[in-house]
Structure formats: structure tokens, C-alpha cells
């Protein structure tokens, strides 16, 4: 295999100046919540990175994550960072197919055993592993086999991180997240449907330069998933003033008021959408006038409807609530009737006590 070109050469080939590269390193540094002094180290690390081997496995997914990373606004520096790794297997992007493709994966695993980075998008069906196979190998077997020699795993997208849409009720394939199958490797969850491109490339850059970033309780890098969208939303002042859009075509909607009552999940969703935004920083869903769906959170598809305000409980609560009230009322009335009957019996059994009748 011919040695692949290093990043400076690639930059030149793409017509990106060194100044542009350093600007990118600085913005990436701030995005990763690292001190500004770290920017030169980021640049140095990216320039001299050993281009680790990356194997990208796609399971039950829609390819949206790959689209987000590679096609959204190419060519970009994110794209370039992607080139800073040696992508040895990615069945959407690679030219090889069939046995040759699988042979490439096996070769990469053999050459870089214990050192390669495994990226997964899509969930894994465990109801019947045969529901999703690649080259005759079930997703479950391929994940286990490939994860065994990985240095770390990045679960890209909500499907790989939390099960995502395949996992949504009634979950016909028994889809699960990577973390429910692999428990002995470090796993970085980068949820989102899809994740923001710069978040994906930022996580990769962090892994290349400083290793695994600090993660929250759901395995998400704190730098990108530390705050809710609500906390950073430009419509937050309207929420604080109690100004809400009640419909998509009312005065509030036209005035750009808070979308909380239209079901916005921003208050419970952690992501940098409101600051980094999408499409080269153009906009994000709330800015486009639609409530946040909460796609970076587990089970976002099952949280009771996208247009139901957060304060309305999810699930079939009315039926169960009514049943519980009914059962409680029946039990209460029956209990009271029994107690009354007991007391009436006691009153009937009362024998008048005389003052001379107080001793045994």
C-alpha cells in the first residue's frame, strides 16, 4: 500500500492556505472547549498525526450521518480532517465491493490490531441478527469481531448511540445501541439525527490530538453536549417573558416567539445546534421556525409526539390515570363500606357499662 499523503500536502492540493488551516484549528479548539493556548498543539497534532486507521461500519441506518459528514457542504476543512485519517473501510464510500471490500476490512484489522478506530453508525438488531447482514455476516457478528481489535469506538448518530429510530416502539428488529453489545472498549457517543458535521470532525480531531474527550453520563463529549439548546437558544428571552407561539401561523410564530408550546424539546436536549448551527452556520431548526425534536437524546422518537409540549406527560397516561382513579375509588368505597360495617357491628355489640361494672 502506497504511503498516504500527510495533511499539509492535502491542504495544498485543496488550495487551503496555512492561515486558513490555523484559523480552523483555533475554532476547533474553542469548539472543543479547550483553552486557546491549545490551538498550536491542535495544529501540530493534526499536521503530524499518524493517520490512524479507521474502520466505519454502517448497520441499521439511513446513511444520513455519512451524508451529513461528507456531502453537506463539500469540500470543507471537515472533509479534510476526515482525510487526515486512513479510512480503510466504509461501504458507502469505498470503491471495492463484495469479498474484496471485506478483505480490506480484515487486512486493516490485521495490520492495526489494537490501534484502529472503529466508527459505527446505525443500530444492531438482536431480535434476529439475520435482519441486517453485510456480505453474509450479521451486524452483530461483524460488530463483535471488529470491536475486538479496536482502540476505541465512536458511535455516530442516535441509532448507534441510543438505538435511534430502529429502536423506536415497537422496535420490530430488537435494535440496540453499540454500548449495549460492546462493554469492554471505550465508546464515544456522538448522537444526533444526524450529528452536526463539525461535531463529528471535532470529536475525531480531539481523538487524534488528545485522545478520548471528557464524556457525560450518556457517553457524549461534554464539549458538544454540555448545555441544552434551550440555554443557548436565541428565542430564550421570549420564553423568559412568557411569549409563546401557539400555532405555526399565529402572531407569535410570525414574531419569532418561543416554540415551547408547539412541542419544542430544546429544554431537555443537549446539543450545540443553537450556537454552531447547520449548513455552514446558516441556521438551525428552531431558527427555521420548527420546534426541536430532541434528536440527541435517547428515545426521542417515543417521547409522546413532536408537537406535544414538554409539560404534557408522554405515554398513554390518560387511560392509565383514569383506570387508576377508578380502581382507587372502587377500592376506597369498598374499604369504607367494610370499615363502616365493622364499626356498625361494634356499635351493635355495645353493652352498656355501669359504674359498678368496671372490674374483671
Amino acid at each position: 500500500m502506497a504511503p498516504k499523503p500527510m495533511l499539509p500536502e492535502l491542504m495544498q492540493a485543496h488550495g487551503i492556505s496555512r492561515r486558513g488551516f490555523l484559523k480552523y484549528c483555533a475554532s476547533l479548539t474553542s469548539l472543543m472547549a479547550l483553552p486557546p493556548l491549545m490551538a498550536p498543539r491542535v495544529a501540530h497534532a493534526l499536521e503530524t498525526a499518524a493517520r490512524p486507521s479507521v474502520i466505519w461500519l454502517s448497520f441499521q441506518e439511513c446513511t444520513g450521518c455519512t451524508e451529513s459528514l461528507t456531502r453537506s457542504h463539500s469540500p470543507t476543512i471537515e472533509d479534510l480532517i476526515f482525510n487526515a485519517v486512513s479510512l480503510d473501510y466504509h461501504h458507502t464510500l469505498q470503491a471495492a465491493s463484495g469479498h474484496a471490500a471485506e478483505a480490506a476490512r480484515e487486512q486493516a484489522m490485521k495490520d492495526h490490531w489494537g490501534k484502529y478506530l472503529l466508527v459505527v453508525d446505525g443500530s444492531i438488531p438482536v431480535g434476529n441478527p439475520g435482519f441486517s447482514c453485510i456480505a453474509g455476516i450479521s451486524n452483530l457478528d461483524m460488530l463483535k469481531e471488529t470491536a475486538a481489535g479496536a482502540a476505541a469506538i465512536v458511535s455516530v448518530g442516535t441509532c448507534a448511540a441510543f438505538g435511534g429510530i430502529p429502536h423506536a416502539d415497537p422496535n420490530p428488529t430488537g435494535a440496540v445501541a453499540v454500548s449495549e453489545i460492546i462493554t469492554d472498549k471505550p465508546i464515544i457517543n456522538v448522537p444526533g439525527c444526524p450529528p452536526i458535521p463539525v461535531v463529528m470532525s471535532g470529536v475525531l480531531a480531539h481523538f487524534l490530538t488528545f485522545g478520548i474527550p471528557a464524556l457525560d453520563e450518556l457517553g457524549r463529549p461534554k464539549a458538544f453536549y454540555g448545555e441544552t439548546i434551550h440555554d443557548r437558544c436565541y428565542r430564550r428571552p421570549f420564553y423568559d417573558k412568557g411569549l409563546f407561539a401557539e400555532g405555526f401561523d399565529d402572531e407569535g410564530a410570525r414574531e419569532g416567539w418561543c416554540l415551547y408550546k408547539l412541542g419544542c424539546k430544546g429544554p431537555t436536549t443537549k446539543s450545540v445546534c443553537a450556537t454552531v448551527k447547520w449548513n455552514n452556520g446558516t441556521s438551525f431548526p428552531i431558527e427555521a421556525g420548527h420546534p426541536c425534536l430532541g434528536c440527541t437524546e435517547p428515545d426521542f422518537w417515543d417521547n409522546g409526539g413532536f408537537y406535544k409540549p414538554l409539560s404534557v406527560p408522554a405515554g398513554d397516561y390518560r387511560k392509565y390515570g383514569l383506570a387508576a382513579i377508578g380502581a382507587g375509588a372502587v377500592a376506597g368505597v369498598a374499604g369504607a363500606a367494610l370499615a363502616r360495617a365493622g364499626k356498625a357491628r361494634a356499635a351493635a355489640a355495645h353493652e352498656n357499662v355501669d359504674a359498678h361494672d368496671l372490674e374483671k
Partner: protein, 419 residues
């Protein structure tokens, strides 16, 4: 028929009602009632925690009136209340509770613990677990009209004595008088001077009054025993006597539980409203004072303090009245700590004072009151309950404290301006 366990348990079942159920359900086990109880505070023995004294009642409620308790009971998981339990609880229900009502007042969820002790006593007395002294008093009261036995001769002698002292005749069984006066046995036997004081005060105020031979005894041992059948029998005598004479009011004397019995429990016991009003003597005196019909001359210049009887102040609502009167006749009136509605009990109420078995505990419980009196160091303690009066004298003697005790009516009588 004699007292049996089953009769006692049945009485407890009868006593459980919606308030009891809500009280037991809402108890948060905070223990504040322990801090409010004089017997717990002076012994620091957790068994005297008021809510614990009610545990047998709670067990019956739980096993027979709650859904989960019934289910547990079906599987034999709820321990039955036994004769041994009742024996063990005698001390908790009768010896270490004067039904002073302090615990009820501090309970953060508003549980009326005192009322539940009263209910517990229904079961205890029906099962034959009441103190023998109270049982004996009940028999005497039923047979002779007073817990001390036959008091008619003593009453007549005291009336004669008062008439001689004041020169004002006291007419017994006088129909159509304004008020029928009740007396407690304690007053007839120990503090008869109150008769002369009332006679002079009422003469001056232009009030007609009488005493009935059929119902002069104010006390009601049925209330202390906690037996509503006995209590009803005794209160009925007073009600019938008053209605026979057609008086417009009955004066409850300086006696704590007598006021409870006639004013609050009586109509519930007989199941109808009275045809007369019940007024406490101090309530009436303060009313006369406000109307200008009670005037005094001169003041007691020694240092005096006031002891609030639990049943009349905390549980009876008469708090301001005695103070108005005290200021009329005492120039150096000093209150003790916690005076008023949160006053500490003299430790003799609720039948505890009559209970020999409780003597040592009672002396110990008085230490709190003793410390409060020592802080004020009064020359005289005034009160408005003859039994508090009796208990204070006994306790002061036991604790070697030389302080005079006096009833408020008697004190007012001393300074009455009846010229």
C-alpha cells in the same frame, strides 16, 4: 356482666372514626409530641411519647379498618391485641397522661392526640384496666352523688357556714334562678371559702343563684376513666337538675375536667343541646367586670403568679379572662415561662392525681413546673381549678417549697368592693 377483653376491644372498635383514621394515616412520626409531653420531658423515656401511648388503638385501626391491614390480618400477620397488651398500656394511658392537650397543640399535622387518649381509655375501662382508685370513685359517684361519697351533709354544713359568714342566705333548689352553681367535691371538702366569695360577688352583681340537691357535683369521673356510659349517667344528673329548676345558666366551678365534661362532652354524650348555657365561673366574673358589675377595692401587693389549668385554658379557651381579673386585684402579678395556652400541667389532672401507682412519676413530672416557679419566686400561686390547687399544694410540700396557693374566685372575693 363483668369487664372483659372482648368488651374493651369492641369499645375501641366503636371509637374509631374518620378523624382517628385520618390522624393515624397522617402521623409523620416526627416525635414533636414527645417534646410537648411533661412525662417524656422529665423522664426522657421514649415509651412516654404520646403517639406511642395510642399504639393499641392504632393496631386495631390498622388491622380492622384498612385494606392492607385486613389483607395482612387474613394471613395472620397483624398481632392481636391481648390482655397482656392492655395491662402493659395501663401505665401509658392512665399514669403518664393528664390529657393536658399540649401534644395536640404542637402536632404539625394537627392530630388530636388528647382526644385519642380519651378514646383509648374507653377500651381500657371497658376491659377492666382502669386504675382501681377511679373505679372506686365511679362507684361512689354513681351511688352517693360524689366521687368522695355522700357529700350532702358536708355541703349543707358549708352552706350554713357561708351564710353565717356573709349574712346572705343561700336558697337551695330555687326554681327560676339565673344560675345553678356546681361545686367540685374538692371545693366542698377542702376549699369551701369559695362559696362565701361567690355569695358576696353575686349579691353585689344582682345575680340570683341556687344549688341543686339533685345535681351539685360538677366533677365527672366518667371522663377521667374514659367511659362514656358512666360519664353520660353522671352528666345527665346535672342536666336534669338544671332543666328541672329552669335556670338560664349553669356555672361550672373552678375544676378542670368538670368544665370539659359539662361544656364540651356533655351535649355529645346525651345527644342533644342543653336548654341552658354553661359558663365557667371565671368567664362569668370577667363578663361582670366588663359590664361594671364587679368592682374591687385595693390590691394584693405581694408577688403573685398564675397557674393555667389545662382543661380550662388550653382545652377550654379561657385565657384572657383570668388575667384581666388578676390585674384587678394584684399589683405585682408576674407570669411564669410558657404561661397561657402552652402552660405545663400541674401533673395531677386526668385522674393521675388520684392514681397511687403514678405518685413517683407525678412528683418527677412536677420538676418542670417547679423550676418555672423557682425562677419567678412568687409569694402566692393563683389558679382557677380546685384540683390544680390541691395538686400544687401537695407538690410544693413534697418539693419543700413554701408558697401559698389560692383560687382566683376566692382572691376576687377578698378584694370585692361590696359597700
Amino acid at each position: 356482666m363483668t369487664a372483659t377483653l372482648e368488651r374493651g376491644l369492641n369499645a375501641l372498635r366503636e371509637q374509631i372514626d374518620a378523624p382517628v383514621a385520618s390522624f393515624f394515616s397522617s402521623c409523620v412520626s416526627c416525635g414533636l409530641c414527645a417534646e410537648a409531653c411533661i412525662f417524656y420531658r422529665e423522664t426522657e423515656d421514649p415509651k412516654y411519647t404520646p403517639i406511642r401511648k395510642l399504639d393499641l388503638l392504632r393496631r386495631i385501626w390498622k388491622s380492622e379498618y384498612t385494606l392492607f391491614g385486613r389483607i395482612a390480618n387474613m394471613f395472620g400477620l397483624m398481632p392481636k391485641v391481648t390482655e397482656a397488651d392492655l395491662t402493659a398500656w395501663e401505665e401509658l394511658v392512665y399514669d403518664s397522661c393528664t390529657m393536658c392537650g399540649r401534644c395536640t397543640l404542637v402536632c404539625p399535622v394537627g392530630n388530636d392526640l388528647t382526644m385519642m387518649i380519651r378514646k383509648m381509655r374507653e377500651g381500657m375501662s371497658a376491659a377492666g384496666h382502669a386504675p382501681t382508685e377511679l373505679v372506686g370513685a365511679a362507684g361512689r359517684h354513681a351511688d352517693f352523688g360524689s366521687p368522695m361519697g355522700e357529700l350532702h351533709p358536708a355541703l349543707h354544713a358549708q352552706i350554713k357556714h357561708a351564710e353565717k359568714e356573709t349574712g346572705i342566705p343561700i336558697e337551695m333548689d330555687k326554681a327560676g334562678a339565673d344560675y345553678m352553681v356546681l361545686l367540685s367535691a374538692q371545693e366542698i371538702a377542702e376549699y369551701p371559702d369559695v362559696l362565701a366569695a361567690m355569695s358576696r360577688i353575686f349579691k353585689k352583681a344582682g345575680i340570683t343563684w341556687t344549688i341543686s340537691n339533685d345535681g351539685f357535683e360538677a366533677t365527672n369521673v366518667g371522663i377521667q376513666l374514659g367511659n362514656r356510659d358512666v360519664a353520660r349517667t353522671l352528666v345527665t344528673r346535672v342536666v336534669e337538675a338544671a332543666e328541672k329548676l329552669g335556670v338560664k345558666g349553669v356555672i361550672s366551678p373552678e375544676c378542670g375536667h368538670a368544665y370539659q365534661a359539662l361544656r364540651w362532652e356533655g351535649p355529645n354524650l346525651i345527644g342533644r343541646p342543653y336548654k341552658f348555657e354553661v359558663v365557667h365561673i371565671i368567664e362569668l366574673l370577667d363578663h361582670l367586670r366588663a359590664e361594671g358589675k364587679l368592682k374591687t377595692k385595693g390590691k394584693d401587693t405581694t408577688k403573685v403568679t398564675f397557674h393555667d389549668p389545662c382543661q380550662i385554658n388550653r382545652r377550654g379557651g379561657i385565657n384572657r379572662e383570668p388575667r384581666n381579673l388578676m390585674h384587678m386585684v394584684a399589683s405585682n402579678f408576674v407570669e411564669t415561662d410558657d404561661a397561657g395556652t402552652m402552660n405545663w400541667c400541674c401533673s395531677g389532672g386526668g385522674g393521675v392525681g388520684a392514681n397511687e401507682r403514678a405518685t413517683d412519676l407525678r412528683f418527677k413530672a412536677f420538676n418542670r413546673k417547679k423550676a418555672q416557679f423557682e425562677k419567678v419566686a412568687p409569694d402566692k400561686i393563683v389558679t382557677m381549678c380546685a384540683y390544680c390547687h390541691h395538686t400544687l399544694e401537695e407538690q410544693l410540700e413534697e418539693h419543700n417549697m413554701d408558697i401559698e396557693v389560692q383560687g382566683l374566685t376566692e382572691l376576687i372575693g377578698e378584694y370585692l368592693d361590696d359597700e
